[in-house]
Chain length 287, copies 2
Amino acid sequence: MSMEWINEHKILIVGLGLIGGSYAKALKRIGYMVYAIDTNEESIKYALDNEIIDKGSTVSDPELIGSADCVIIALYPKVIVDWFKENQKHFKSGVRITDVTGIKASVVYDIQEILRDDVEFIAAHPMAGREVSGVQNSDDRIFRNANFIVVPTDKNTPESIRWCKDLGRILGFDRVSILSPEEHDKMIAYVSQLTHCIAVALMTCNDNEHLRDYTGDSFRDLTRIARINENMWSELFHMNKKPLLEEMDLFIEELTSIRNFIASDDSEALKEKMRTSTKRRAYFDKK
Amino acid sequence: MSMEWINEHKILIVGLGLIGGSYAKALKRIGYMVYAIDTNEESIKYALDNEIIDKGSTVSDPELIGSADCVIIALYPKVIVDWFKENQKHFKSGVRITDVTGIKASVVYDIQEILRDDVEFIAAHPMAGREVSGVQNSDDRIFRNANFIVVPTDKNTPESIRWCKDLGRILGFDRVSILSPEEHDKMIAYVSQLTHCIAVALMTCNDNEHLRDYTGDSFRDLTRIARINENMWSELFHMNKKPLLEEMDLFIEELTSIRNFIASDDSEALKEKMRTSTKRRAYFDKK
């Protein structure tokens, strides 16, 4: 464990939604002082009333920012770089900053490009979530059995990488690993963004209200994530366009092959796909 | 409750796999005499040793068939009609026969076409399953919270329809409903067969072994059913080809639209899809 996590007592969270709030709960329970900035007055009031944070502000208060020993950015992806431009002047010298953004290449390099030389930004992606949003629904138990990914670039120091891995463990994540921004974005396009697109398309391709009584577990499982925060996810898709389109094209092509095996009664080719699928999925269950 | 379910004591199950075995467990616990026919010697031995059935045979024993007050056909779809051709001569006069097949139009009419006039076949689909097969994995708890669909044609009598609905309730299903063969097949193509095709394509479109550490709940949920009995499902897809291809084409078209909204940065159209998806999925959770 880095010494910093013993010494650092004041943690500022910028953006107090579902994930920011869940970070706050985990960190405050351990004993850190947790500050938060969010433009939504209700969110700050709720967090103060419920002792999720120690101090809060609806504006980017220079004093609050300047008092933080480390900063966690939990804003929507598109506003992050602008927030840095406007507020980085208030950072205490030497502070470490991390984030929770679901896409990396399109934000990390921009932040590091404009960042002051005496502070460091190390990106991270806590792979956890719920089908509901807001600090009111925050819950740090969503970090259990989940993955925390540290996403360094060549601008990051070994000390900050270690510090960020420690943060993942402190928050309660099961597995902490390291990927480059590009590896991260390709992986997330496949295992998360593509799956959300599929779930949405499955709900919207057919008027299905009358089918509610007939939907078994399969359909429910495949569409659980079809309840989706459209503002956040459309930003994430937009900012990860190239890897996402590649994965979507691969999937559509694959499903079209399966469609054609069915159309042409090629049951041997169809069974071969099913055998591959069964084998791969069994490997996922094995650990 | 029909009188028959009080009087009928000898139930023959033909095909003792996961579903046949689960029927046997439910029916035997209530107190019926349960007989079974399965060509697999191990299955019959296991079921007798574990008191899942009272009598069993690895051949279509005329005496066993002739002693049954009702018959449940739990065979793979393609062999059902032949089984009737060879063995219907052994049925006791007046016996009621039902099935568990996952597709309907391509089997029900053929059976009723060739069936003796003094017995009645009423189709049913227990919408329950597991990712494992065989009587060894049978478990009638899979019927709880599940749907039992009775699928009559104009050849069926009101008495048999009532009898079959009672069977669904006796087995422990949550909801018992009625659909025509064509309605059933269209519904099942969408909520079950399409979802299985999607799960398979998601596993096979990408070599994903190295991603095991990064897969969160979304990916796991969408691919749970990717462990699939390839012999049974390829038969089901083949025998429901027309409705399934229609649903697959609708889905592929819809996912391609979403892909194109992302490619062209049409975030308003993308968000509109997500709003529809969220609203529809919320309706599924409401009951």
